[in-house]
Symmetry: C2
Subunit: 297 residues, 2 copies
């Protein structure tokens, strides 16, 4: 059997690379130049936005949109940029001295180390505001609600609070699950949902893609926890072993490395089963799901 004519065989690395190029160009277009006042704020915003992130969330939104046969590319690119800005906002605030107190991120000094805490906080705030402005340009208020719920006190920000409060404490699997489902999986789930919403998908397809996103989002965080222990500082671009040092609530800390890897693999398998129930072209989404666990296997 040959692939349908409208499918082009690509590797996942190629797909992510191409998505990244498109998203970077759009981010470049949508963010004010460094030369515009207030210049320090725009420099700080751009410093963390263009720090070499993988653009996984934007790629997932694009892939979800394409899987649902979405047509208007402009809108999904707006959403893709909004997702990356939101993710960058969360990294800047997470790295602050009163939060995770990280000096390095993606191999470079963190935002507050370069621009100071005040500008870093305001740069994070600015990215969050820009994210909603871009998403509003799609004219789709329901997409704003999707993003806001993924971020709010019962989403990413709630996860971050429990993460901080659990530091140095002995916590169980339930708490680690809460933290990572909220702090990481919620935004990855929203990436899939936004792509499907903008493609005009049916409610059950949107829900199915959301379930897929939640599972691979959790798998992604588990893999990240494992990498923190098994990776090198050079490869990670941040201090290896820092989770352990800070007493962070992680999967390896609670169930061990081997069980964490099994759990990630199982979540990806379950995620792919969710996909296969849906009447969509799921090829690239399955590849991205597999890619998440191959980072450590």
């Amino acid at each position: 059997m040959s692939a349908p004519k409208n499918q082009i065989a690509v590797t996942v690395e190629d797909y992510l690379k191409q998505a990244s190029v498109r998203v970077n160009a759009a981010l470049e277009k949508y963010l004010p130049p460094e030369s515009e006042a207030p210049t320090d704020l725009h420099k700080a915003v751009r410093y963390s936005t263009f720090a070499g992130g993988k653009r996984l969330r934007p790629a997932l939104a694009l892939a979800s949109f394409e899987a649902c046969h979405g047509q208007s590319d402009d809108d999904v690119l707006l959403a893709a940029c909004a997702l990356e800005m939101t993710h960058t906002f969360s990294l800047i605030h997470d790295d602050l001295p009163c939060m995770d107190n990280d000096d390095f991120r993606r191999g470079r000094p963190t935002n507050h180390k370069v621009f100071g805490e005040a500008i870093a906080i305001l740069a994070g705030d600015s990215l969050l505001v820009y994210a909603f402005e871009l998403l509003a340009k799609t004219g789709r208020a329901e997409c704003i609600v999707t993003l806001a719920r993924a971020l709010g006190t019962k989403g990413m920000l709630g996860g971050q609070v429990v993460d901080i409060q659990s530091e140095g404490k002995k916590v169980g699997l339930e708490t680690v699950n809460y933290i990572h489902r909220h702090k990481t999986a919620a935004l990855i789930e929203a990436s899939l949902v936004l792509g499907a919403q903008l493609a005009g998908a049916e409610d059950d397809v949107i829900a199915g893609l959301g379930a897929f996103g939640n599972k691979i989002g959790l798998a992604f965080q588990i893999v990240d926890d494992v990498l923190d222990l098994e990776g090198t500082t050079e490869a990670l671009g941040k201090d290896a072993g820092s989770d352990l040092e800070k007493g962070k609530a992680t999967y390896p800390a609670v169930v061990g490395i081997a069980a964490s890897k099994d759990m990630a693999r199982q979540l990806v398998d379950e995620a792919k089963l969710e996909l296969r129930k849906l009447p969509i072209q799921s090829g690239i989404l399955e590849l991205i799901a597999d890619y998440i666990t191959t980072r450590v296997h």
Copy 2:
């Protein structure tokens, strides 16, 4: 001549009080209870939201909506809550040690003094996210754009950066103008614009109300600067004279108290002229404009 039947004679104090009661009830409804997880985050969000603010921005949105004969009360209440949440977000972040380092606000310890810096930052972030979620529930994407532009790097957040960077420096009127137009006037302008947008007003009416809001917003900040010098710590609910102590860029510091008062009065007069050009019922808006300067005259 008697007033039209649908106008009820009220004092500005009554109007602000009634608006405040409606907005407080709506905020109570829209914010998660303290008992819901994560409880500390919800406590921190509510602590600053219900700290006895005047609800000026919500009242202006409601008054603008009514002046434009708006019909659907539910939507403008959503916008009013979004404005107050946004304002509260900005206060929490402004008070942080790395920003203005304020220990008291509205007569009570600031958010970070009670909940710690990490939770305070995340509570501010949460209020910003909630603001966009509520506004999205109106289904009006253009309202999201209005709020986002008022807040972004060329709005409130830009003003805050220049404010911080000007501390302890000798700056001119142009810089003080920049700071206060961005940091304070932009959100007050947006309050008027949102009310008019939700009432379905014509573009020129929306623009006229925005111009009115910008002028009274600047007047409001000038009056605040004067009160910081002339008021007592008890009456202000925060340290009197703290602007001077911190070397803040303020109107009185640049042009003196008397000229600052004149400027505020002139801005209010100009604002009222803007109103009178518009085919709207501007009674209560004029009263609110006057109220702003009577706080110091």
